[in-house]
């Protein structure tokens, strides 16, 4: 049954803004994602060059080697503008909050075998610094990037990574003491098995090409690290100590599944634009993939000992499939 409620009907003069209509190819109703994203960034008639980078305009396509005829070819498959973004994250955080509370109220952390709890802290807590590095890198992409279609989700990704850094810290405070966070930072700075990863992160912090940074951070590093930690290590812990730690890292797990969709779509669009772009992306993937493997292998070895090679091989195989789907054959 449909009710026929009536309002005064007025014929509008137009359906949307001209810059949106030009992109839709006609004056037709546009979504909030479209009106809040398309062509929002200034492109012409800049008044002054940045004092801090006078060789560039305020927003400048020349800040990356990737060339696009139209930087709005990138679209966020999640259609995130601020409203939909915060609603999606509020939902994830509500679940996470419930999980943390549940673990806390039932004293589940205390039920974990001591050794397992120590191992979890040892492997997870330094990752708050990796997330913080990603926060900075995604800010860089949003800062130097071109076109709201891609710079907007980069800032959301940056804030997500800050959230992840904070969730890991909370996990540390739940499983241990503030001193454990300090110990994890000391390990991050000094322990041999973490130095490869720290060097990787620090080297990305000074990358000047923001699209290479996107590849090094969002595609390659996250693409190996998240499966390693939040799938394989998570399963390792769950087999030995039950689902407690899975609950405390559920945010990362669900977030990664969601954000990879966006990352893959960006790579696919950039690679599909031209052979030159594709070759460039493949070179970047090849370079950073090798480095990421090197960086993560000692960490895998710490947990999986003799089985580490197999775990890494499985992750790499999965990742190569992902690359192929995105139109990049960089895995060799």
């Amino acid at each position: 049954m449909q009710m026929d409620l009536r309002t005064v009907a007025i014929k509008p003069l137009r359906q949307t803004f001209d810059h949106v209509a030009r992109r839709l190819g006609a004056d037709k109703p546009a979504s909030r994602y479209q009106e809040g994203t398309l062509d929002l960034q200034m492109e012409t008639n800049f008044h002054y060059r940045p004092l801090w980078a006078p060789e560039f305009e305020i927003f400048d396509k020349r800040r990356t080697a990737i060339v696009m005829a139209d930087w709005y070819a990138f679209k966020d498959p999640r259609q995130f503008y601020y409203g939909t973004y915060t609603l999606a994250r509020a939902k994830l955080q509500e679940t996470a909050e419930g999980d943390f509370q549940f673990v806390e109220e039932r004293g589940l952390a205390e039920l974990l075998p001591d050794e397992l709890r120590q191992l979890a802290m040892e492997m997870l807590l330094p990752l708050r610094h990796v997330a913080w590095g990603s926060n900075m890198n995604n800010c860089t992409m949003s800062d130097y990037g071109y076109g709201t279609a891609i710079t907007q989700p980069c800032l959301y990704q940056a804030m997500d990574q800050l959230g992840i850094a904070q969730y890991i810290s909370r996990l540390g405070l739940l499983l241990g003491e503030p001193e454990d966070l300090d110990a994890a930072k000391a390990a991050w700075l000094q322990a041999p098995e973490w130095q490869g990863l720290r060097r990787y992160v620090e080297d990305t912090l000074v990358l000047q090409d923001w699209f290479e940074l996107f590849v090094a951070q969002n595609l390659v590093l996250d693409g190996l690290l998240y499966p390693l930690v939040y799938e394989h290590f998570d399963r390792f812990l769950a087999c030995r100590g039950g689902p407690t730690l899975s609950m405390l890292t559920r945010f990362q797990n669900e977030w990664f599944a969601e954000s990879s969709r966006w990352v893959d779509s960006c790579i696919k669009v950039a690679a599909g634009e031209s052979a030159a772009n594709r070759e460039r992306l493949e070179a970047w993937c090849g370079h950073w993939l090798e480095r990421a493997q090197e960086a993560l292998t000692p960490l895998a070895a710490r947990v999986f000992t003799d089985g580490a090679g197999e775990v890494m091989a499985e992750i790499l195989e999965q990742f190569r499939q992902r690359l192929t789907k995105a139109g990049v054959g960089g895995g060799q």
């Binding site: 309002t7 137009r14 810059h19 960034q41 002054y48 940045p50 305020i58 996470a96 800010c139």
Partner: protein
Amino acid sequence: MDMKASKKKLGLKERYAHLTRGLDWETSYQKMDDVFPFDKFEGIKIHDWDKWEDPFRLTMDAYWKYQAEKERKLYAIIDAFQQNNGHLGITDARYVNALKLFITGISPLEYMAHRGFTHVGRHFRGVGPRVACQMQAIDEIRHSQTQIHSMSNYNRHYNGMHDFKNMIEKVWYLSVPRSFFDDAVTAGPFEFMIAIGFSFEYVLTNLLFVPFISGAAFNGDMGATTFGFSAQSDEARHMTLGLECIKFMLEQDPDNLPIVQKWIDKWTWRGVRVLSLVGMMMDYMLPKRVMSWQEAWEIYFEQNGGALFKDLARYGITIPKCVEQVTKDKEHISHQVWSTFYQYGGVAAFHTWMPSDEEMDWLSAKYPNTFDKYYRPRFTYWREQEAQGKRFYNNSLPMLCQTCQIPLVFTEPDDPTKIAYRESDYQGEKYHFCSDGCKEIFDNEPEKYVQAWLPVHQIYQGHCFKPDVDPTAPGFDPLAAVLDWYNLVDGQDNKDFNGSEDQRNFAAWRGMATRND
């Protein structure tokens, strides 16, 4: 190990510090100066970033939760407003012109603020300011989008807003707010924080945001009122950040004081010039007025700002030096700016009109020293001209101030009958200014301001026509060609409100909504 016994309860501050402050580290595979290349060149000295007091201890999970709740409420109201033709409840259609000014002149700047705060949110060396700036960066894209979404329905029914993004990049008067923000984001990170975080968001925000949102509330615009109120708690955070930032800079090193003072002087004046557009809006464009520009200046700057600068005096900060001139100008600028737009109404993307008798009386009462003496006679004359079918449009191109880019229309602070002109020579060229304040800003950084994209110069140089236009063709109409390049539809977007399509449509639609004929 008995975990329960050893577990200590963390205080809020301590907990926040663990969740946020501990995240960074001193890099060693790359030099810190390469990771943070921009926070030293301005000469601001910071000795201890850990002395930064977090103005609000907001973690991301709490941020997502609060902000999502606000978004849910806001969009429910926007939906209801649109569904019920809420725009027909405004006082009268002249009000929509304030929104046109807003969406073309301000919403794109919210976007620029978003990118600017992203930049400083990446490049400050301290974690505290970095996180706070990132939160402001994401808030600012919120403001840009909620404004666009709230006004989207107005755009469907009224003219002048349909190509706001194209217009902010091209139209002559929109280069005033545009160049203001371009100036800020091209500065170093500390100057950006004084420019936007402190001067704009703290000192002047009440003169920008409050008049528009109160204006919306007074004129029955629930859409705009709602995004304004929804942004209020964000704005409160931004104000706290701006204040914390200036205090931090001043507390870190006494050498920072002269640099900060110079920026405060510069950005207060830059801000005041941009706000002359708001002054005009308050005094002339709102059918139901909130208060006069002069009253707003007195309350929000002279009283509130005065208290703020008294508070900052302990650091050696003095009140911005332009205040003496603004105190004289406050009785004039809104009338002078409206006069300008009335004359140039043919090339503006909103409608202009002469005030009614009743409105002129309001202006006389609010401006007893100036309105009747200097402005009423001019407006009365223009009304007579209009009544005779000779509505005055000025078709010449005015000279623009090299710094603020407003046409040279403001008068000498001590002689309201004489236009103020200033000039400077730089590398063999002459540059023109509307005021001592703008000349001084130029003289301090001429290499920056000579780059300005001045709309009038650009028109004369032939850069403001569509590519296929031939200016040498017989009968070429340069003005029409410029409007075409602006995508400003002659006869719809511009000229007098009287006789406009907006006026006709609103009357017809309101009739449909309130009568049965």
